[in-house]
């Protein structure tokens, strides 16, 4: 049981070790509510990219254009809000739709014209870089004065106005955490019951309860830490919602099955009635949409669109996905894994910053961690043969 799941647990253990290390090395500053809250906000725009990238890599492709595309779409959002004076409720869906369109353009290059994704998106990398520069050419950095928009990257969900009750803690966050815990417990119990109704094997009762307790403690701890500062940030909410939706799609729907089938063996998928081209369009379309989201998260966080926004995001996202266990051979990789991968990478940056470690050393450490994670992944996969 433990052996079989070592790959999945391995990542949690690694994350735990990294967090524990930084907590000790920074005398507890790392684990403080304020820092964790910050960390999550810093990570958001990479996390959503990593989730999209996971699917791209699963179907044996790559998307190098997402960095500057995020920057460019962020700039479009900024221009929309300022120069064009559009309302926020129009700008957000518009930019998301634009993201989908750009993704579909990449997909057309790949599926219709048969250009390798590396080349097609490398062209995108150049083109969107140019587009970003042109968009910010006249004004340079575009300051975004829109409060609501800037709240996406910096704001927190409102609290329940209850003076005196649980002072210093964010009550709505606690309440949501409680709901999440209850939901997890109930769905676990009902899924176990259904399995038993089918006469399937289920883990022993003791084991099951142990797992439940562990999950509840985890949810509780995270909620408590977050509630200690301003509570859940909007970024956290967005990342959680995106993760939940993508996790659901990939594990529970036919679309997810089709994506993993195409990644596992495109020829067999095609002959099983799955259109490989269609899946390529869907996956790149989704990547484009998440890129737009990432670009807006970043612009909102900086409260402005800059000429260099998005530089290197694609590489951070790819690294997060690999740390999270996707395989470039295709067909393997979970979006939840990539989320953890993104948290691991961001924890490293954040922790080393707190420790005052030089940026040059930071790059080397992050490179080493990437290699170690992938080596571990490959080794455990072999081991199971």
């Amino acid at each position: 049981m433990l052996k079989r799941n070592i790959r999945e647990y391995g990542m949690f253990i690694a994350l735990f070790v990294i967090m524990a290390f930084f907590t000790i090395a920074t005398n507890g500053i790392f684990i403080s509510s304020r820092n964790i809250s910050n960390l999550v906000n810093q990570m958001g725009y990479i996390a959503v990219l990593a989730i999209g990238m996971t699917l791209v890599i699963v179907i044996r492709h790559i998307d190098l254009s997402v960095g500057f595309l995020a920057g460019f779409l962020g700039a479009i959002a900024a221009i929309g809000l300022t120069a064009w004076g559009l309302p926020i409720w129009l700008v957000i869906p518009m930019v998301l739709a634009l993201g989908v369109v750009t993704g579909l353009i990449s997909a057309t290059m790949i599926a219709k014209f048969g250009i390798p994704s590396f080349v097609a998106t490398l062209a995108g990398w150049l083109i969107y870089r140019g587009a970003l520069l042109q968009a910010t050419l006249r004004t340079g950095t575009i300051i975004i004065p829109n409060k609501a928009f800037n709240a996406i990257g910096n704001g927190y969900i409102p609290d329940i106005p209850l003076e005196g009750f649980l002072p210093g803690l964010h009550k709505l966050t606690l309440l949501l955490g409680l709901c999440a815990a209850v939901l997890v417990v109930f769905s676990a119990i009902s899924s176990r019951k259904k399995k038993m109704a089918y006469d399937f094997d289920v883990p022993s009762k003791a084991m099951f309860i142990l797992q439940l307790i562990f999950t509840v403690i985890l949810v509780g701890a995270v909620t408590y830490v977050l509630a200690g500062y301003n509570g859940l940030s909007w970024t956290t909410v967005i990342v959680l919602v995106v993760t939940l939706i993508y996790d659901f799609i990939t594990t529970k729907t036919f679309l997810g099955r089709h994506i993993y089938a195409v990644g596992g063996n495109p020829e067999a998928a095609e002959l099983s009635g799955i259109s490989v081209d269609k899946i390529t369009y869907v996956v790149f379309g989704s990547m484009g949409m998440l890129t737009a989201l990432s670009g807006m998260l970043f612009a909102s966080r900086l409260q402005s669109a800059t000429t260099t926004a998005g530089t290197g995001f694609e590489l951070d996202a790819i690294a997060a996905a690999y740390v999270g266990g996707v395989s470039s051979a295709g067909g393997v990789g979970k979006v939840t894994g990539s989320l953890i991968g993104a948290i691991v990478m961001m924890s490293l940056t954040n922790g080393m910053n707190l420790m005052g470690i030089d940026i040059s050393t930071q790059y080397i450490v992050r490179g080493a961690v990437l290699v170690i994670a992938v080596v571990f992944d490959v080794a455990t996969r072999k081991h199971r043969k």
């Binding site: 529970k252 729907t253 036919f254 596992g264 020829e267 095609e270 002959l271 009635g273 799955i274 067909g331």
Partner: protein, 506 residues
């Protein structure tokens, strides 16, 4: 007696949940051909992977002796160096490279830093003579038929001075002539001091070539027969393989009235733009409800191409002609549409385009018909497990669980998963492309029984096969294809092997 060339002693190899090989011992004297037979999943391939170092020393129990010396292979390089060459069913040749490049791949002849091309070609010509392959060494592999590729593979082994050839189902993809050639070659090499281990489900072959035979069942060695002492015949082999005797290889077929014509192809032409030539010419075929139609012909005659062109044309040929399904003219632009309309296609190459090897048994079984496990658009994992178990049980798939990845199943059981996947679609017309390739006698019987059951329930089956006895016994009507053309149509009851062969080569 001399020291045996190979001795495997008390070999045991376990995987999580399976004891694939269980305390097997056998010996091969020099200048011998040893055959391994057994049902699908009996452990034959695994035993050979232990020998070749795929499963390295330390991952199994027991000892391997070559010429009386204990061997501890850590990888396939070690075993190669010791003179063992393994030829898998999926050939390990680079299609875009020439024959001589392939023969010396990995141990190129050098002159300084350069590859000595002249010496390479000279030596290749000599080796090709030894394997009696008459081709220009500069030919690219992809331009050779599978039978010739097989010979190149053996040439490659000989160029490394292999003394022991291991062939895992080498003839399963070969036609009769090519198989005969290959077996003759093995006999000849034996005289020259190269011994062989041959795995095969074609018992006739085994009987004709074996000096000794070891029968495996459930990982255990049941018996070793010596042709010089024991009688080796079909009955003895089957009895030891399955533990009981099987009188009939083919189940009885009930005589039935055929239904109306359900599927028809008229003047069907296909042009392959990659090859730049016509691969199917004026094919006319009819299939009745409840009928088993056989399509046969030599390897490369265009049978698989025909199936692909009918089943949604995934290969992208330019098609001409009419296809009529249940009285309506149809044309499928994608396999998806063909499936919707009631067709299923069990591919010939299950690893290449049939299964998703890195996924588990249940995911593969349900893949082509996810609608059956969707509830309100969401996959119901419990229904999936239940259905997958039902199908896996009814086809007798040997696997520790339906959560096992397909890549870890034996070849024959992979084939059954492939079949289960398409049965799960509940088609009206099922195209089976070489359905019994690499399948043991017992499983063949099971598959044939299932086929009989299916046609009785009203399904129609198009069975593509090179095995003439099986085509003759299992079908109602037979179409023979040669070089992309239909050269004959026979009632199965009036046909025999000779009449088919003469049509197939006309």
């Amino acid at each position: 007696m001399s020291v045996p060339i190979l001795e495997m002693r008390h070999i045991t190899k376990e995987f999580p949940g399976v004891k694939a090989v269980d305390d097997v011992s056998f010996t091969i004297e020099s200048r011998q051909i040893h055959c391994l037979v057994g049902e699908n999943g009996a452990g034959k391939s695994t035993l050979m992977k232990v020998l070749s170092g795929v499963h390295p020393f330390g991952s199994y129990e027991g000892e391997i002796f070559l010429d009386g010396e204990l061997q501890k292979f850590k990888n396939t390089h070690d075993s190669e160096r010791a003179g063992i060459a393994v030829i898998y069913q999926e050939l390990a040749l680079v299609p875009e490279m020439t024959v001589h490049e392939n023969v010396f791949l990995g141990h190129e002849l050098r002159k300084g830093l350069q590859v000595d091309i002249n010496e390479t070609i000279k030596q290749t010509i000599e080796i090709l003579k030894k394997v009696r392959l008459d081709v220009n060494p500069a030919t690219e592999i992809k331009d050779l038929g599978i039978g010739k590729q097989q010979l190149v593979e053996i040439a490659k082994a000989l160029s490394r001075n292999a003394r022991l050839l291991v062939l895992d189902e080498p003839t399963s993809a070969l036609n009769e002539t090519d198989s005969e050639n290959l077996l003759d070659l093995l006999r000849e090499l034996k005289q020259q001091g190269v011994s062989s281990i041959l795995i095969s489900h074609k018992l006739q072959e085994v009987i004709s070539i074996a000096d000794t035979v070891t029968v495996l069942r459930d990982g255990q060695s049941i018996i070793t027969l010596d042709a010089s002492k024991d009688e080796i015949n079909r009955d003895v082999l089957i009895k030891n393989m399955v533990g009981r005797s099987i009188d009939n290889i083919y189940p009885e077929r009930e005589k039935r009235e055929l239904g109306e014509v359900i599927f028809e192809v008229r003047d069907w032409n296909a042009y392959d733009t990659n090859l730049g030539r016509e691969i199917l010419k004026d094919i006319n075929i009819q299939v009745h409800k409840g009928e088993v139609v056989g399509i046969t012909g030599l390897m490369g005659a265009g049978r698989t191409e025909l199936a692909l062109s009918l089943f949604g044309n995934a290969a992208g040929y330019n098609l001409r002609g009419e296809m009529i399904l249940k009285g309506k003219q149809v044309r499928f632009s994608h396999p998806k549409k063909a499936i919707k309309a009631g067709l299923a296609y069990v591919t010939e190459d299950r690893k290449g385009d049939g299964l998703i090897l890195i996924q588990d048994v249940k995911t593969n079984i349900t893949l082509a018909n996810l609608d059956r496990i969707l509830r309100y658009g969401v996959i119901n994992g419990n229904v999936e497990i239940k259905d997958a178990r039902d199908y896996s049980d009814s086809l007798n798939i040997k696997t520790p669980s339906i959560e096992q990845k397909v890549v870890y199943l034996s070849g024959g059981n992979q084939q059954k998963v492939s079949l289960a996947k398409w049965l799960y679609v509940r088609p009206d017309i099922m195209i089976l492309d070489e359905p019994t390739r690499g399948i043991d006698v017992g499983a063949k019987f099971e598959i044939f029984t299932i086929m009989n059951q299916l046609v009785k329930e009203g399904m129609s089956i198009i069975m593509i096969s090179s095995e003439l006895p099986e085509i003759l016994s299992m079908t109602d009507r037979i179409y023979v294809i040669s070089d992309g053309r239909l050269t004959g149509e026979l009632e199965a009851k009036d046909a025999d092997q000779e009449s088919i062969m003469s049509l197939a080569t006309s």
